[in-house]
Symmetry: D2
Subunit: 340 residues, 4 copies
């Protein structure tokens, strides 16, 4: 942490800051520039004490210089985390496809979808049983009934299952049925839920809060990691901006940037991220070209009959073309990795 | 709901939409304009079915025309909701001051603050016992210990108590000690928590999500109201924008606008909303001038020693000046109400 | 400027940075913390050279520690700037009202409005002759014809005139007719226009870019000031956020904050800032309560017939109530100033 | 346009709206739903008249249903626009690379860069001679001297030249030297400049305003097109969001979406869009995978010595790897086009 004094700060004010630093058990290091003093503060986690200086006189600014997350950082672990979900490797060389309906609506439709996406190369089945909905009057999901259907689809197809858990009390239940727990965008800072999911040790996919900075997202991952759960993957799913033409702005920048800052795998959700099915395929290709470790995509046999989010679901034919395009792209990326 | 057809839509496509509407038990009403058809869809909650049309051909746009919330709307209840919290009226003619430390750090400091703010006219004591913190390494609050201190401060000063609850399992516990349950910005869409707080019947202050639209905020209130809890007040606490100079952008526009759209009381939190103590007093005055029903302000006897958010806490002297200014402003507003 | 080295940076990398600093004629000052080196860079305008370090190895971050603007800063000029526009003082104790139609549509309507607002205490007449419009198919203003009408209204009523100039070639022309040149939100970073307006020496009101940070806004003011024009006032007019319910989010936080950072007067435009006439009065009161030096408000004798922005214009009766409310508020603020 | 009446609207209020519509020469069409009336307004450009209804009683909302731009829309011109810039086709099957330094700093460096990028397959040379800079104290470009250097580089290498024009008075001058006029993000709504560039008939690349919606961007293109200039390409260059980790958020969503809505070519600028050179290559690949018609990338022989924006410039070796990767990607996309 660095404390920048105002250029009108008096020597007495500088001394007061230095004293406070010492009082907190930290080490001050004063540099006097041409027009102001700057005080380095040395010591573990110094930034946590920044509030202690807020009302002292003569301070212009307090600057954080170390990342506030640790276990999630690439400084801490230089090599990529690869998560093994029952044989499916997430975070390795190959991008993983997670596909399925937005919500589990019934067993027939779920099985039909699962069989189809598995036949085209998807490795994980998605589908919501507990749905967080903006309106209390919307369909809220089938609950445990839905979880059982997902498990049945896994048994038949061999796909792994990812599904959302929305409250700490349900972590154990959902972990009985799902291979990966999904923490949704509205719950990225639901700390009780993060702690419970962290304690479970189960693989977790942490979606970015729709208005969370990358730093906050990695700090939320830190909650999971600091409970001893190392099976954490991240999911970019669109951020809230001023643009009304898409439901969210999928932040593709975040993909290579998070992979620079962190060792955790990054999955991208172009269905939620745009809210328009016609954009899902081009943005899936873009995400993988930018370095994503996987995709999570909504697919529905009859999108017009979907109980939620039909507007962003792919039908089977569009999904098939996407899988074919992704396969060709994978060839290019492999060549590139060999080359670079 | 209105379905706007593209100008290239064929008659067959228009018919398909009309058919779908009838199939859903709704009534279509087709208008043919100069260059395109527009189809009104009549029937309760038609918008909930919009997904059903997402993949039909020839549709340009689907427009929602009724507000998706009902119990929270002023159409539903034209007169202001006034909540009686043990004799303190929230939502009436007079703006209520809620003041106290960000976190409960210890009983001495809490009592000192409570006595002081009560002596200056505050009616509610704020203070966090369960703190949702961005970093897992920050102070997380004293938990039930803190709740007991708040109750002790109430007993001594007569102030009502507001404090945050962060997880559904704690609603009952917190309601034992607090007069008002606070639902924080990171939990505005924590639906399990909303439902539990709704069921409790206890007065609730629902903070706006930092990236929630006003419509989403009123829909979150609808979750509380639809559980039968009518003691709901709203709290504007700053939204996330591109501006880095303040921690958030306190959205004062929201105050008169929400009061137009809804009958629920609106409280403003200028401490969280700006993150800078020097802005708290001017923005408190601004909020009340714009029609806020109350303020919630962080006050600390020694802001430099605060364990959280000292940078945005007022010391006693600044708080006293603010209370004096607010008193004068109240006189003006009363004159104005009489006049208009 | 401070250069923060990564904790893996090698001594060779630190030396390369130190060397580069010296090469640029600046002075390096190295502090070695527990886990990383931090290098202060001392010398005038060091931050301008930050690009020179962007590709050197081992750097984690480069932090700016001085404000990039100078003439606009309160450090540079501690006392408030008061601009005298033909006897009307802007920036002094009293908030100034600028009122009039969005566009000048005709001489009758303009005179009717001017007479009315003058009779209620407004001191400046607003009205657009050159209108920047989002669509090429919208009404673009009357041009010089409109300027003449404004001048005629000034002659009759004694009001000063503020009107927008949109291109450098028109600065001279507009300055012939107007007492204050308005630079609009879409032109805040039109540097050719800023330079021309700066050179003119004429009073200028610089509106904040709808997505400009406060720092960028003060830097745009610096363009004007650095041409020798000291008659610069700022105008907050709403920023672009994710909230669709209002046209923009009027950033009232900016009022006290800019007055802390700068000595320049701050005017607020609640008409543009919200786009809804029903919000104009409450936000006008809020702005003045927060410390604004003036307001600029759209008033139209028959808002329903306005050629532009009727939705945000006040009719005469609403304007009259607003002026009465502002007068009462001014009394409070004067008492407060005396008291503090 | 559709006018939605409030559910409390009286028959008299509905009649007043209908009358107003007729008065404006438009055709009203009233539908009475279960709980409210909805009035369609039929007639060319009805939305331009929406202000006329703003103060009438009983209206809940006015909804626009046609796109406000016309010449830029794909409804107007279904086939892709392909612009021929002296033999270089922009908007066709192949993505075009525009590369070069941020600013023209001197003839040697420019020639060195031009030769290099040409040798790797770039077809257009970028470089700023007139630089719009946030601070008046930053390097503002070499002006006409810089234009001459660009022309010299074209003569030697055969590359076409793109460079920015910042004020209407310079359009003619810049058009003498440049093959494509660039209109920058800060000037997207500089209408005098748009009109002048439109009149010139010269190929124009219109960058998206950093806080402009896609609709506003296409309306700005409409200014150019409506002057008779059909040689318009668009450039996505990052939008302003709350995320501080990147300079802007490059909006890759906009690429496929604009190509759906419009026939104009879309170029992507990942250098400006992220402000970090390490993100330029992954986002270039992402942009092309999403359907971009070209890229504009900053390249500098010695990024550490760049006078502006060195942090986002590629060095030659990184550029070479990017060109090789893009070539492989082009193969995939061609296969895909054939396949789909």
């Amino acid at each position: 942490m660095i404390i920048v004094m105002s250029h009108q700060a008096t020597p007495v004010q500088v001394d007061a800051v230095v004293e406070k630093i010492a009082e907190l058990g930290l080490t001050p290091e004063v540099s006097k520039g041409e027009d102001r003093a700057v005080i380095g503060v040395i010591g573990g986690n110094a930034y946590a004490y920044r509030e202690a200086f807020a009302h002292l006189g003569g301070i212009q600014e307090i600057v954080q210089i170390t990342k506030p997350y640790k276990l999630a950082s690439r400084e801490w672990q230089p090599r990529d985390t690869v998560i093994d979900v029952g044989g499916v490797k997430i975070g390795g060389d190959e991008a993983v496809m997670m596909a399925g309906p937005c919500s589990v609506e019934g067993v027939e439709m779920l099985l039909e979808t699962a069989r189809h996406v598995a036949s085209r190369g998807a490795q994980v089945l998605r589908g919501g049983a507990f749905k967080p909905r903006t309106s209390p009057y919307s369909f809220q999901g089938l609950g445990e009934e839905g979880l059982k259907m997902l498990a049945a689809a896994r048994d038949e197809t061999g796909l792994k299952v990812i599904t959302e858990v929305v409250t700490p009390g349900d972590v154990e239940l959902v972990a009985c049925y799902a291979d990966i727990l999904q923490l949704g965008t509205r719950n990225m800072q639901n700390y009780a839920l993060l702690q419970e999911a962290g304690r479970s040790g189960h693989p977790v996919m942490l979606k970015r809060g729709m208005s969370s900075t990358i730093e906050e997202w990695l700090l939320a991952a830190e909650y999971l990691l600091s409970q001893g759960n190392r099976n954490v993957m991240l999911c970019e799913r669109g951020i809230r901006t001023f643009e009304p033409a898409t439901r969210f702005t999928l932040d593709i920048n975040a993909v290579p940037l998070v992979r620079e800052l962190s060792h955790l795998p990054v999955i991208v959700d172009p269905s939620q991220g745009t809210g328009r099915w016609s954009l899902v395929s081009p943005l899936s290709l873009a995400a993988v070209a930018a370095g994503a470790n996987g995709l999570i995509v909504e697919v529905h046999p009859h999108p017009d009959d979907a109980l939620s989010d039909g507007a962003q679901s792919l039908d089977f034919a569009t999904f098939d073309r996407l899988m074919a395009d992704l396969k060709r792209l994978a060839g290019v990326l492999a060549a590139q990795a060999a080359h670079n």
